[in-house]
Symmetry: D2
Subunit: 312 residues, 4 copies
């Protein structure tokens, strides 16, 4: 079991970890190690592995277990690790969740399956899985309609919080979703409801605004995690203007990485350039970068470096 279980008090930056491959598309576990160390050096508070941006649907079951074991082993007690367990079959969710927890995961993250349409259907899906998992496995509910096609209302989120004590975290990435984030906080406070952790995704594009609206941190994979870490700490220290000044320096590149699809290729390329992984390979079908894309990324990175230098 984890020494760092996910809880309502979890906060800060849970980095969405990329899954490194070789240029031939094989798992590169040595790069998994170096990437893990890179993230820890940048000060992340936790990890989320095997999410959509971790190319989880493109791994075999054996590879899934290999990545999970490698990261959990490497991180050890240094940080909590959340494992993405979303799957078309409830049996698979249950099996992977139990395996993850046995190996020391801090909790699991679960997005809804496709084709859930109404509040009732979304609630029933989660209720079914949560009952099977039991109250001992901390769960992060992932609300990401752009990817899942499923729209989760504030009411559904609160019903889940009320009925299942293991729901301790919301990954908020509805877009536009700031009103929703405020409602989650306000309606929860008004009802004296248990306050859960809310970490934001969507590449962090609205991180400062979301921190001011009650988020507890970010769960995203921007290739400059040190910025996310500093921004969250500055907010925590009550210094929102400084936090956002720093954020704004990185905003052009963060916005660039926000592009769905090609964003993953850009992120891996940056991680490679920063020495964190050896190859920027993305499994097929998937995006790749051409000469224009690479030059564009270089130019934006140089502009960011210059602005950071000018800031002193």
């Amino acid at each position: 079991m984890s020494t760092n279980p996910l809880s309502e008090a979890s906060k800060g930056v849970y980095i969405i970890a990329a899954t490194p491959f070789t240029d031939q598309g094989e798992l590169d576990l040595a790069s998994t190690d170096s990437l893990t160390e890179f993230y820890l050096e940048q000060g992340v508070d936790g990890f989320t592995i095997l999410g959509m941006m971790g190319e989880a649907p493109k791994l075999t079951e054996e590879e899934t277990l290999a990545v999970m074991g490698r990261v959990l082993g490497r991180v050890g007690s240094r940080a909590p690790v959340v494992v993405g367990v979303s799957h078309a079959s409830n049996r698979a969710v249950e099996r992977l969740s139990k395996s993850a927890m046995d190996q020391g995961a801090a909790g699991v993250m679960l997005a809804p399956v496709a084709n859930l349409k109404t509040d009732e259907q979304v609630y029933n899906y989660y209720a079914g899985v949560l009952k099977a998992l039991g109250p001992q496995i901390p769960v992060c509910v992932q609300d990401f309609p752009q990817a899942t096609g499923v729209h989760m209302s504030v009411g559904v989120i609160h019903r889940l919080v009320d009925d299942f004590s293991q729901v301790v975290m919301l990954k908020h990435e509805d877009f536009p979703g700031m009103r929703k984030l405020s409602e989650v906080r306000e309606l929860s406070a008004a009802a004296g409801r248990r306050r859960i952790s809310v970490l934001v995704g969507n590449g962090g594009l609205f991180l400062p605004q979301e921190m001011l609206r009650g988020a507890d941190g970010a769960m995203t994979g921007f290739a400059y995690p040190e910025m996310l870490v500093q921004v969250c700490r500055l907010f925590d220290e009550g210094r929102p203007e400084e936090a956002e000044d720093l954020f704004d320096i990185y905003l052009p590149l963060l916005r660039h990485e926000f592009q769905y699809g090609i964003g993953l290729a850009l992120r891996k390329e940056t991680l490679k350039r920063r020495g964190a992984i050896r190859s920027a390979f993305v499994r097929k079908p998937g995006p790749s970068l051409n000469a224009i894309d690479l030059a564009e990324l270089t130019r934006l990175t140089e502009r960011q470096t210059a602005r950071l230098a000018a800031r002193g």
Copy 2:
């Protein structure tokens, strides 16, 4: 005001009336008259005009009023007429609804605007419009997610019934939707809730099953309304097997007309062949029939005629 207001007791066949054009695409009000008489001769219990299958979004405002005035004037007190008022703007819904009621409509039918995602959003949309319309205008709520992209839960339908006395009818055409129809009836009965009228759409493809699950009739535009009328009456008289025997004879052609898009062209072609309208023209962009389509329709129609003859 209507002498036949829509109510919870409304039942039978509310025909979705086609809007006839000339071969040049102009409104053909003479055909509107003949079509109206045709429907009445086939025994329909009511009309629904200016629905999606009535090409309402392709009419100018002037044409909309012309069609509405013509049908309402022609039908007079012979049957209730429901007017489709769905629109991107609430002001337009309100204006058209009031105009329809002033001219003698029995009520209005309203589908949700696009991009409503959660139960809360759907409820709020309807609540906003229903308050503006006031309790004097009977409303049929159209639940047609295949066309609107909006999914309405049983809970939302019931909240609307509870909060707005003017909601007297549901046009049920979620697909697959039979479970939902049963839930609407069961949960309503269990809660001692006001029982509203439920008419089914989707071309009537599951009409017998839906009647057995508690529907009160059909609101669809099949080009052989006499079958729908007889089937509903036979169900009403407690003769479900005879009803479905008749239905099954028409099922091949009904299924053929069920094809979205081209179904409207097939329906108008059949109405033209039956002498109800002068042209099968569908406004552009829209489907048209080629020689293969026409021959296929002829063959299916002849098979139907033969089976009706064999039945005696």
Copy 3:
């Protein structure tokens, strides 16, 4: 290698085989055997396993191989078996395809991954996979936009036929899609293009019309395969009216099974009632039948039995 490779000349009924589970949700390989024999007894010309209706996304890799091995071993040289290999990762498609062919599959069926938008993207996706698979593996292209969200134009289908000799079959289940089927045939003939096999899906709802438009048979899983088999043979013998007379007797139940989602539960229940499998269990999340659904199915089945009896 298969003794019955899929080819442009393949025709008749390729049954979409259900995957039987126990009531506890475990694979039931004994029922896989009995179901395989049931299908063969009904006269099917071929099998398609591990398709969407075979709950393939809900199987573990081990289960996938177990089902594949069991069916291929049982069928042997008695009929060609097509294996569904659609997957989010090209590597997985390649691996499963090779494994299937090694064990004697007749070919593989491939649907596009989600999020392909334009003709160019669809073509490039297939081209990438087809090159990796090589010309020795016969491929059935599955065109099923309602499930995949990907729309394949006639032009794309023909480019694939022109550029890849291994594309020998199209599973046609766009809806409405009859115009498209005719265009595939007409534009192919007009250009002197290689004529591929076209089998139709969508539950067979338009099978007679599609046979008349040039289909070579059906690839669907209706729980009364004997009807599909007889209908295809009658069309082959130039007896379309008799074919459609028979089809029409089954149409009410076939239409009933056509309901997405719950249709699979209805199909498995019927197969269980017919003695082909021991349990109608569908893996979660998935549809289940309540008392009303079961009674409704019984009634429709009895009506079908009565009509078959009346026909003599």
Copy 4:
């Protein structure tokens, strides 16, 4: 006819003009005037009216003509005005286009109707309308799949350019869409094809990158048009770093306005605060701002003001 017809040489900033209402939701033509002058004072090169962000679908026909007449009359020969004419009916497109041109519009902008799936369908839709409009009406093709659901390939765009001389402009707002923009330019140049004007939308979120990839300007409605104008001019003068330095100062607010739905309310609120219009009212159903939203906007605006001041 316009003294400034839209052409392949059109460039710079075509502002997507908001449609001002009173707090009661009536057209506010005095604000239409003041907003028009505001835009001209900020230096815009042209206007686009009656687009999606101009709430066109919520206007009556009379209001549509009133807004069009007012803006065209006010602008006069000072700038070209493009009129959005997208509509469910081709007849309506034709009627509005002719009316616009008669009153002096520079051209029309047309997005595809919903439910076009393949390249062939998209091409045929445009071909049908373009033939009806004739070669004298300059047309801007709007490629905005996030709103229309229609995906237009580079091949389709080029076929339209090749076949219809009146297609002189592309409004590019596919997202992510930078690769596509480069392909439009590269494949066009490689084929010696007529080079059309490309203006970018999506709120301008990637304007600098898009200018470097060959865009000719922006067609968007950011409430600080002066920035867009200066950025486009600096790019035109070959000063991309200065252009992007300026852009980056506005990026936080531009990104904020990028939020679909609520973005329009934020934009109108900013225009009101800047004195360009009297009310920020958005017609229902539509977004409105609460106290948190307003305070957030104030804070972001103040941060922008401070950064502009610091820059000197």
